[in-house]
């Protein structure tokens, strides 16, 4: 199976952890998980692309995605005003969103503008499992896309050149 959202849901269903069975609680986790995979992830990704990776600086595109990231941070901040986590308890929705907030500075965002989001961010960051997970990934955090060769691989895919079966 593929896609981070798939892996989170599948493993949560398999283990019975971080995705409740109660239909109301479960749908709340899934709403925010899909919000992340369809919104925060792709839009912050476009932010990174135009702010950091694109070969030319295009103000309209940079502004569009920096501002959309800001809007999405605002949605998170309002959601977290009266709760500790995105759903009823810590869930795969928090696990999906947190890594996309980690690079907030590169996204042109200031967490002091969104105090509830900042509080949540620090709480998730401080969890022992978060520390362990990011430590596990540290040897591989080489930021490969900043090399020209890396850019060719990441950004040169077209319908014509992707491999088919």
């Amino acid at each position: 199976m593929f896609e981070s959202g798939t892996i989170l849901v599948y493993l949560a269903e398999k283990t019975g952890r971080f995705l409740p069975n109660d239909i109301r609680k479960r749908k709340t986790v899934l709403e925010w998980l899909f919000w992340q995979v369809g919104g925060l992830g792709p839009m912050a990704g476009q932010n990174h692309h135009f702010a950091i990776y694109a070969p030319e600086k295009i103000p309209y595109a940079i502004d569009r995605y920096v501002n959309e990231t800001n809007r999405l941070y605002g949605v998170l901040d309002r959601r977290l005003a009266d709760r500790d986590f995105l759903a009823d308890d810590y869930s795969i929705a928090d696990m999906a969103a947190y890594p996309w907030v980690v690079p907030y500075e590169r996204q042109g965002q200031n967490l002091d503008d969104t105090p509830n989001l900042k509080r949540w961010f620090e709480a998730v960051r401080g969890r022992p499992a978060t520390v362990a997970a990011f430590a596990r990934g540290e040897p591989y955090a080489g930021r490969p896309a900043v090399t020209e060769e890396g850019k060719k691989i990441l950004f040169g895919q077209t319908a014509a050149n992707i491999s088919t079966r």
């Binding site: 919000w35 995979v37 369809g38 309209y60 595109a61 959309e68 949605v75 950004f155 079966r165």
Partner: protein, 231 residues
């Protein structure tokens, strides 16, 4: 009863098709996004992300109504609850994978392609090329997957076919007129879906609603609020 917050976009149309396929009773509540109705407090209480579709399931299994936002979350919620159009349990990993493919890729990149080709105030060749190529790449991935298959997941029609249908229906708009023919497996699959009686009923949903259609300054401010932030 499903209260269905609706506008005529690909994402609400996915939910319209699911409702017509399954016969769940529903009522349409228009949200005129070009007029900014998605930004009103009553709607934000249902979807804080200010997008359509959203639903209120008045039959929340005993404890009062359940609101759900995000088209793919709605499909999964209604399918899990009704047991319909979910495919086989053994195919759960594939169901989720391809549903996420639509949610994170086919949808968002088709949307960005349309934005830079048709809605952005200035033509930006780099962005137009980036998103057209990325939308095409998603079509190519799906087309390869549909070789020798009638449905996206397993042997049966599922919510993933419904989710993909919502976006593939806009192929002319996203890629250019007539370009669906460049992806013959998708074209064949799409024709099979189109023949389903529920599709005609889904297409009729909201036809009688007089939504604002002109993309004028008011519409742009409501659709792209991030372009109008006060410095």
């Amino acid at each position: 009863m499903i209260r269905f917050y609706f506008h005529t976009g690909p994402n609400p149309m996915k939910v319209a098709l699911f409702l017509e396929e399954t016969g769940l009773p529903y009522e349409v509540i228009p949200v005129d996004t070009l007029k900014g109705e998605q930004h009103k407090p009553q709607f934000l209480a249902i979807n804080p992300n200010a997008k359509t579709p959203a639903i209120i399931d008045t039959d929340g299994l005993g404890e009062g109504p359940v609101t759900v936002f995000d088209s793919n979350a709605i499909l999964l919620y209604l399918a899990d609850k009704s047991g319909k159009l979910l495919g086989r349990p053994a195919d759960r990993g594939q169901l989720l994978s391809w549903l996420m493919f639509v949610a994170t890729g086919l949808g968002p990149y088709s949307g960005q392609s349309v934005h830079f080709r048709r809605a952005a105030p200035e033509p930006i060749p780099y962005a137009q090329n980036r998103y057209l190529r990325e939308a095409e790449r998603h079509y190519k991935v799906l087309d390869a997957h549909l070789e020798a298959r009638n449905h996206i997941v397993g042997e049966d029609y599922t919510i993933v076919d419904i989710a993909a249908w919502g976006w593939i229906d806009r192929a002319d708009f996203v890629l250019g007129d007539g370009r669906l023919g460049e992806f013959p497996n998708i074209a064949r699959w799409f024709a099979t879906i189109e023949a389903r009686p529920a599709v005609a009923r889904a297409r009729a949903v909201g036809k009688d609603i007089a939504f604002k259609r002109e993309i004028d300054d008011e519409a742009r401010r409501n659709l792209f609020p991030q372009n109008y932030l006060v410095a």
